[in-house]
């Protein structure tokens, strides 16, 4: 969706004509759902939180202003906060941003295949601050461009790139031996 088209739709919505919201939905649904899925690892939870995100966006869109930033960053912020609220209502502890902060907690629902897949990298990604982990996930798993990441996080492209490279350095320092061993074992099984 072109930026200009997005701005037109937002202006219409601000004036009370919400018919264009469907086009925004079509453009963002997969991105937001994937963003939330990578934070919850559970299909039903991701669908539920995605629904809440878009409902909140719909209810608030007529008062959204570009002074608040881009629509993308606003929408991702809603998604992020919706995930945080979800986990913080379930667990009393304050500092839970998403399921990565609950690694090893058996009470939290996860899709089994997702849990299996991330088994090796989980301990390393879980240690990262939420914002750094988001950047890695967006870049490597969601294949977003730096521009898209910057818009989603409400930061400059340069700072996103910097944070990304620093995060990869951290992973390089933490991961390599275990990863090599896992890869060797994987090759031997084949």
């Amino acid at each position: 969706m072109e930026q200009s088209e997005q701005l037109n739709v937002l202006e219409q919505c601000r004036q009370g004509d919400l018919s264009g919201f469907g086009r925004l939905y079509d453009f963002y649904i997969k991105k937001i759902y994937s963003f939330i899925y990578f934070k919850t690892h559970h299909k039903e939870t991701a669908e539920d939180l995605t629904s809440k995100t878009f409902l909140k966006a719909l209810n608030g869109i007529s008062s959204f202003s570009s002074m608040q930033g881009s629509f993308s960053s606003w929408l991702y912020a809603i998604a992020r906060n919706t995930v945080i609220d979800h986990y913080r209502t379930k667990k009393i502890e304050a500092d839970i941003d998403d399921i990565w902060d609950l690694a090893g907690d058996e009470d939290v629902m996860r899709d089994l295949d997702a849990a299996q897949k991330i088994r090796i990298v989980e301990q390393y990604l879980a240690k990262l601050p939420a914002r750094q982990r988001e950047i890695v996930v967006m870049r490597v798993w969601q294949e977003m461009s730096y521009q898209e990441i910057a818009e989603a996080l409400g930061q400059s492209e340069a700072s996103c790139k910097m944070m990304y490279s620093r995060t990869m350095k951290v992973l390089r320092a933490e991961m390599p031996l275990a990863v090599f061993i896992a890869m060797v074992i994987g090759v031997m099984k084949i």
């Binding site: 009370g16 469907g22 939905y25 649904i29 209810n59 991330i118 890695v136 490279s165 390089r172 890869m183």
Partner: protein, 554 residues
């Protein structure tokens, strides 16, 4: 190293060239990250459902913002001066029901808009519906017959329509037994009388005469297909939500109305269970809302549909109005009439497949030697098969379930529609049977319910089964009280390839549910004949000697 990894690394080196010194480690890390990427399970059906809900919500928000008096409220204000409370109540109730089912919180002012229902599937944990048993398939056979007659609506014409209806509805067990031809035996030679102490002979009572089943047909199911489609270890069972908020809300609305004849405020916890209205015009309809089953049906207002034979007083007159086979339009014309009817009344067909005309009467007509005596139905039905999550829903007896539009042959008009359901479901996963041999064994016995096998059949007919599709079969389970809950369980549906040659068989498909606990619970039920088995009318049997006679006659 693949292109994706190259791109990721080249981005990194562009940010920080120093990272290039650690390429091998970075390759390993990126590869492991890519390998570990979970499958997000993006579900197109969820996307569509959510979009529908959001667009409904958007309309509601727009309406609130505009806050103009609607055409509906203006009509209400005018009507309040000129009509009685009952009519006004009907005007309030009809759109209110639709509005509640559309998820709106107040009576809408948009009567001219298409109204979307709250459809969708909400997912529950595995096994959420409790245990399923083979007995639930029995319940489905009996309930299908009951619900079909209920859905046919009120009024005499509905009864006539049901009689004329050529849709082969699933047949309850008792009716299936009736399909087996029975004939009371001619009075058999009186058995040897009992001799009493005083030498008087006491004849055996006539009540000990047994009926004799003349034509005893066994069906041999033969599979003609390749391997069965693969099922997953767990398959999804759906439960249709029948609870309607409208029942409570309309109950509250009616409790607030002041009827002179009775004090409504004496009643507590009122729930509206159903209501209906008729159109008082030529070719008008009667519409019935069942709020306990969450279903709507329409039928002709029989008092306003012309019947030219209604004034006939002799056979000649009736004969002159009898329909002929050539009066029945071609299938495409019948479907066009049904399609237009559904479109005109805004009945959403998104959850249904394309319409199919039910032409069983033509099969019987083709076989009829004396075609002049054959009764051509007054209406034919078009069934739009229901789809839940892209799977067609069948009744236990193998016929498709769905929207049924009846087309009046004489007037070339749709005379009604049944099974307008609100498509709101819960779903839960259950363990599936993956042993194909077990599935085939059940298919070859005629389904989970099975057929009775006569020990001495007069005829054995092959029923050829084609490759199955995975569909859903509708069953009922008790809710623990007096009501039944409606479920759709995944099933193999084997089409009967030679059904036109079977005469009255009454089935189009054989269904085999794949839920393991249902198959585990199945018992080898045999359909019992009405009476003990006899070999011939020359051998009357005393009731008490039934078992011995059965053994003797083997």
């Amino acid at each position: 190293m693949n292109d994706k990894i190259k791109q990721i690394l080249s981005d990194l080196y562009a940010i920080d060239g120093e990272l290039a010194q650690h390429e091998k480690e970075l390759i390993a890390i990126v590869e492991k990250l890519l390998e570990s990427k979970p499958d997000v399970k993006f579900d197109d059906r969820f996307v569509e459902r959510l979009k529908t809900e959001l667009l409904q919500q958007a309309e509601l928000l727009e309406a609130k913002k505009q806050a103009k008096p609607s055409s509906f409220t203006i009509i209400l204000e005018r009507m309040a001066y000129v009509v009685g409370g009952a009519t006004l109540c009907a005007l309030i109730i009809v759109p209110a029901v639709i509005s509640y089912q559309g998820g709106w919180s107040s009576v809408p002012g948009t009567g001219s808009k298409n109204l979307a229902f709250n459809s969708g599937v909400s997912r529950l944990e595995a096994g959420a519906f409790g245990k399923f048993s083979s007995g639930d398939m029995n319940n489905s056979a009996n309930n299908s017959a009951a619900n079909n007659s209920l859905a046919a609506g009120v009024g005499n014409n509905q009864a006539k329509m049901a009689a004329n209806n050529s849709v082969v509805t699933p047949v309850a067990r008792e009716v299936k037994e009736a399909a087996v031809e029975t004939r009371l035996v001619a009075p058999a030679p009186v058995p040897a009388p009992m001799v009493l102490e005083d030498g008087v002979e006491e004849p055996v009572a006539d009540k000990m005469m047994m009926p004799f089943i003349e034509e005893r047909i066994n069906y041999n199911y033969v599979y003609e297909g390749a391997d069965l489609p693969v099922v997953e270890d767990k398959m999804t069972v759906y439960k249709r939500n029948k609870k309607s908020q409208a029942a409570n809300d309309l109950g509250q609305a009616i409790s607030g109305i002041d009827f002179d004849l009775i004090k409504m405020n004496k009643f507590r916890d009122i729930q509206m269970t159903n209501f209906s209205f008729v159109e008082d015009r030529e070719f008008g309809y009667s519409v019935y809302f069942d709020l306990q089953e969450n279903v709507i049906s329409m039928s002709s207002n029989w008092m306003r549909w012309p019947r030219p034979d209604a004034d006939c007083r002799d056979e000649k007159c009736f004969e002159s109005y009898r329909l002929k086979a050539e009066d029945v339009p071609a299938d495409n014309e019948v479907i066009a009439i049904a399609d237009k009817f559904l479109s005109d009344y805004g009945i959403d067909v998104a959850s249904y497949g394309a319409g199919e005309v039910q032409n069983e009467w033509r099969i019987m007509y083709a076989k009829e030697a004396n075609k002049e005596d054959f009764y051509i139905p007054e209406s034919v039905s078009v069934i739009y098969p229901l789809k839940v999550d892209d799977k067609i829903v069948f009744e236990n007896w193998g016929n498709m379930d769905g929207l049924v539009v009846d087309v009046d042959i004489r007037n070339k008009k749709a005379s009604g529609v049944r099974n307008i359901y609100v498509h709101s479901f819960q779903s839960s996963d259950y363990e599936a049977e993956t042993d194909n041999e077990r599935i085939m064994k059940i298919a070859k016995q005629g389904g989970l319910y099975g057929d009775y096998k006569f020990e001495d059949p007069t005829k054995t007919i092959d029923v050829r089964l084609g490759e199955p599709v995975l569909g859903l079969v509708k069953i009922w389970k008790s809710d623990g009280g007096y009501a039944g809950e409606e479920f759709y369980v995944p099933a193999y549906v084997f089409p009967i390839l030679n059904k036109d040659d079977l005469g009255y068989f009454g089935r189009s498909n054989i269904t085999v549910p794949v839920i393991k606990e249902m198959l585990d619970d199945a018992q080898a039920e045999q359909i019992q004949p009405y009476m003990p088995i006899l070999r011939s009318s020359e051998e009357p049997v005393i009731l008490e000697d039934v078992e011995e006679a059965a053994i003797i006659n083997q």
